[in-house]
């Protein structure tokens, strides 16, 4: 099968859905002529024109508010938020307006918009351009959250998101835009709330999101050298979250580490770990371990930045500790 980059996969998904549905349009900063700083949208303005690939001034609350209104009145906006860190600027439009439109209107209105943005550290972008803030969004009822872990997921999940009748936020890892994966030529959709078992194992379950799926897979390879068989699960969407697949795996292996690049405290790892403990407690042979980013502003210093995020070696070390039945102290 052909291999394309995550960036190309996103571009393809957008082009296919914009051809399919004339009510779709892209709006954001530097989306048309520049094709975004990551060159993801290159060529789209040539095909669809500036009427459907709309460059805005630097004013996130403004274009996000425009998009919510446009979504409520019959179009399907695809908002491009240049950095996930800027989500703080659009919290009211996203969380107070878009997330609650369907509920507050008694079901008469919907806001079928997609917010595409990114996450991920270790790009030397500093504390204000390196955060992974998806947990903030996942906390708000009414918002779906997709976290593609490869080009294949990026395309399939984005197409599903565009067709969803309610707001969806997609977080792409900005370090993975040039990563290639097998992506079929023919059309496909990936349903929300269906986790993907990336690797089958029997001793320990590693649940990873976004690029942490790769970290989990590398950790599984390290562990395999030591005779530990790790299962790797990619939930693909954290809202909705496929607990059935996670529970099934944890009940088989009895042990679990949850890995996510958001800050560890009050984050996605905590939520998944808590659900496992509620739902599979009597099948656990050890505590569910959370591994997120350190609870610090992401440092600019490369040496410091690299140690703030989970690594395959760190995951493997914790997995060995869990297998050995050692205690985890704060």
């Amino acid at each position: 099968m052909r291999e394309i980059t995550l960036s190309q996969a996103v571009n393809e998904a957008l082009a296919e859905e914009m051809r399919r549905d004339p009510t779709t349009f892209i709006i954001g900063e530097d989306v048309a002529e520049a094709g975004t700083p990551f060159k993801i949208l290159s060529g789209l303005v040539e095909e669809f024109g500036t009427g459907r690939v709309v460059d805005t001034p630097i004013g996130e609350p403004g274009f996000m508010g425009l998009a919510v209104g446009a979504a409520m009145t019959g179009t399907r906006p695809i908002v491009d938020l240049m950095f996930g860190d800027f989500i703080f600027l659009i919290m009211d439009q996203l969380c107070n307006q878009a997330a609650k439109t369907h509920y507050m209107s008694g079901g008469k209105l919907t806001a079928p918009l997609v917010l595409r943005t990114n996450l991920g550290a270790t790009r030397r972008s500093g504390a204000q351009h390196s955060q992974s803030l998806h947990a903030l969004v996942a906390h708000i009822p009414g918002l779906k959250v997709a976290m593609p872990s490869s080009a294949y997921e990026a395309k399939g999940l984005l197409k599903t998101a565009i067709r969803d009748n309610n707001p969806v936020v997609i977080f792409e890892d900005k370090l993975m835009y040039q990563d290639k994966a097998e992506v079929p030529e023919e059309e496909y959709l990936i349903p929300f709330g269906v986790a993907n078992v990336k690797r089958v194992g029997f001793d320990i379950t590693l649940v990873g999101t976004s690029s942490m799926v790769q970290v989990a897979e590398k950790a599984a390879e390290i562990l395999a050298l030591g005779g530990i068989s790790a299962e790797v699960i990619d939930p693909r969407t954290i809202v909705p979250l496929d607990m059935d697949t996670i529970n099934e795996s944890v009940r088989k292996t009895s042990r679990c580490i949850v890995i996510d690049e958001g800050h560890q405290s009050f984050g996605v790892t905590s939520e998944i770990a808590a659900r496992i403990m509620e739902q599979s407690f009597y099948h656990l042979d050890g505590p569910v371990i959370r591994m997120g980013a350190m609870d610090v502003p992401i440092p600019f210093s490369p040496a410091l930045e690299d140690i703030t995020v989970p690594t395959p070696e760190g995951v493997a070390a914790n997995a060995r500790k869990l297998m050995a039945g050692e205690m985890f102290h704060g």
Partner: protein
């Protein structure tokens, strides 16, 4: 290991209010470290540790009214078992009607020696730390994780430890059907002069022209003493020798000392180790599968050690058995009457 108790700080004081712990469970504690603050009618005092160790088994929380003298924690040698046993909260205490404190009384020692490190036969006193899965499987399979704790295996326990638990010696079953593992045996030791038995053997060999081995005498005397103590109809003595296979003797006290007792396939009633030809004086093997008797020579005395558990016989029978055996060894005439 010492208990930490609520001290009596006032003249007429029934309870103390534990204001706050100054150490957390598992914290290392040095002599003189402040452990907790206690509030009485008129004063707030800090109570110091009298021993070094780790603060464990904390059973009272900040704000609790605790009766004076109640154990609220233990200072132990290791940080293991920091979790308190599920101790009942102290009963609610009516508002104190104590006299206002008139004289200042220095805090008494906050600690008293613990009665015993751990009960030897009952369930372990602390809470057993185990994974939820290990606990569930243990429950489903009628296994007692407390036995692992008693056997000294480090906590917490996981599913793999259930294998160890299954391999521990299992004796009998409790009325609830749960298997019970006896780890501590009971022991009785005795000493008696050897001269009487020596003279007896000399007399048989010279006057009766019979060759007698001490082991046969020991087996015969022990069986006789055992029968007298327990009124057993059948006594099978498993004679364990250092260099040869064990021999199972059926009712050796019924045979003449000159004739070897008949061997049998029946299960042994108890094991006899004859140490009199060795430098060993006593054996304490802690094995509870069978009552075990050892007789060793120690100078001019026989040293008798008997190990048994309550599954085998009651204490009175065992005491009667050992004292009867010692009496026979000291003066073989007792065996004949």
């Amino acid at each position: 290991m010492v208990d930490v108790i609520m001290p009596a700080l006032g003249m007429a004081q029934d309870t103390g209010k534990l204001l706050q712990w100054l150490k957390q469970p598992g914290d290392p504690v040095a002599v003189g470290d402040q452990l907790f603050e206690v509030e009485t009618d008129k004063s707030v005092m800090e109570v110091e540790a009298s021993e070094a160790g780790f603060l464990t088994q904390v059973s009272a929380s900040d704000g609790d009214e605790v009766p004076v003298g109640q154990v609220i924690a233990v200072i132990s040698a290791t940080a293991d078992n920091v979790v308190a046993a599920a101790a009942p909260k102290p009963a609610p205490v009516p508002d104190s009607v104590a006299e206002p404190q008139k004289t200042h009384v220095a805090p008494v020692a906050a600690t008293v020696p613990a009665a015993a490190p751990m009960s030897s036969t009952g369930a372990s006193t602390g809470r057993v730390l185990a994974s939820p899965k290990a606990k569930r499987l243990a429950k489903e399979q009628d296994l007692d994780l407390g036995a692992l704790a008693q056997a000294g295996h480090p906590q917490p326990y996981h599913v793999s430890d259930l294998e160890v638990l299954r391999s521990l010696p299992v004796i009998g079953a409790s009325p609830s059907g749960q298997t019970v593992i006896m780890v501590a045996t009971k022991q009785i030791t005795a000493r008696c002069p050897r001269q009487g038995s020596r003279d007896f053997i000399d007399w048989m060999e010279t006057d009766g022209a019979i060759t007698v081995v001490p082991t046969a005498i020991f087996a015969s005397f022990a069986a006789g003493a055992f029968r007298a103590a327990t009124e057993a109809a059948l006594v099978v003595v498993q004679v364990s020798g250092p260099d040869k296979d064990d021999v199972f003797l059926r009712n050796p006290d019924y045979s003449r000392l000159s004739v070897p007792a008949p061997e049998t396939d029946d299960d042994a009633t108890f094991v006899l180790h004859d140490l009199s030809d060795s430098f060993l004086t006593s054996l304490r093997l802690g094995d509870t599968t069978l009552p075990t008797l050892s007789i060793g020579a120690d100078g001019d005395s026989y040293a008798i050690t008997f190990e048994f558990s309550s599954e085998h016989m009651v204490d009175d029978q065992a005491i009667a058995f050992v004292s009867g055996l010692a009496r026979r060894l000291a003066d073989p005439l007792h065996h004949l009457v």
